[in-house]
C-alpha cells in the first residue's frame, strides 16, 4: 500500500525516472511506477512533454561555453607538437 501511495504522490521521483527513461531503460518496476504516476498526474505528464521538447531543441543548438576557444586549442596543439619534436631529437 505504501508503495502505491508513494507511486501516486511522489512527483519528484516520477519526474526523475521520466528524465532517465529518455536516455536509457529504467527497469520494469520503475517504468511501471512512472507510467502509473503520469496516468494520474497531468502536471508530470506536461513536464515530461516539455522535457522531450527541450531535448529536440537542444539537439539543434550548438554550444560554445563549455568548450575551449579555438585559439586556446591551437596553442595547446602547438605546444604538444613542439614537445614531441624535442622528444625525437
Amino acid at each position: 500500500m505504501n508503495t502505491l501511495k508513494n507511486m501516486l504522490h511522489n512527483c519528484k521521483q516520477a519526474q526523475q525516472i521520466g528524465v532517465e527513461f529518455e536516455h536509457k531503460p529504467v527497469g520494469f518496476k520503475r517504468w511501471l511506477q512512472l507510467k502509473v504516476h503520469i496516468f494520474y498526474c497531468s502536471y508530470c505528464r506536461r513536464f515530461l512533454k516539455q522535457s522531450a521538447l527541450i531535448n529536440t531543441l537542444l539537439k539543434r543548438m550548438s554550444i560554445k561555453d563549455e568548450q575551449l576557444g579555438e585559439g586556446t586549442k591551437a596553442k595547446m596543439q602547438h605546444e604538444i607538437e613542439v614537445l614531441m619534436k624535442q622528444g625525437e631529437d
Binding site: I54, I63, D65, Q77, I80, L83
Partner: protein, 189 residues
Amino acid sequence: MHKARPEQWVKNYADMLFAVALQKTNSREVAEDLVQDTFLSAIKALENYRGEASEKNWLFTILNNKVIDYYRKKGRRQTTETYLADTEAAFDDSLYNNGHITGSTWRAGWSSEADANINDKDFQQVLSNCLDKVPVKMKPVFISKYFHDLPPDEICAMFEISNANLWVIMHRVKVILKNCLTHNWFSNT
C-alpha cells in the same frame, strides 16, 4: 594494447577534459590551465604509458590528479555530492513538498504557436541564456550528455559521480530550463 597519439589529443579530448575540469573547479581559467598541464604531463610521462588503459582514461586520470593537486593548494573542495545535498532543500522548497508538486510553476503549459517559432534566432538566444543560468556544478555534466553524446556510464566515470547523482542533475537542469523557457519564451508569444 592502446597506442598514444598526442597529435590527436587536442582534437579528440580537449573539450571533454575541459568540461570535467570546469565542473570541478568552477573556473574557466583554472580549467584551461589544468587541461594544458594534463597534456604536458602526459607527454613527459609518455614512456610510462604502456597502453593498458585507453589513452582517454589515462588522460582523465592525469587530469583528476591535477584537480586533486589544485585543491591541495587551494583548500576545501566541494564535491558534486556535497553540492547536490547542500542545494537540495532550496530546490525542493520552491517546487515540491514531500516530493509532491507545489506552486503555480507546474501549471503553465506551452502554447503550440510558440512551438512553431522555435527555429527563430531569438529562441536560440533565449535557450542559450537559460542554459547560462544553470549552476556550473551541473551544466558541464548536462551538456556532455547532449553535445558530446556520451553514454551515461562514461559521463559518470569522467565526472566521478554516481549514477543516481547523474539523473538528479539531469532532472534538476531540465526543471531549471523548463521554468526559464516558460518565463522567457512560451508565456509571451
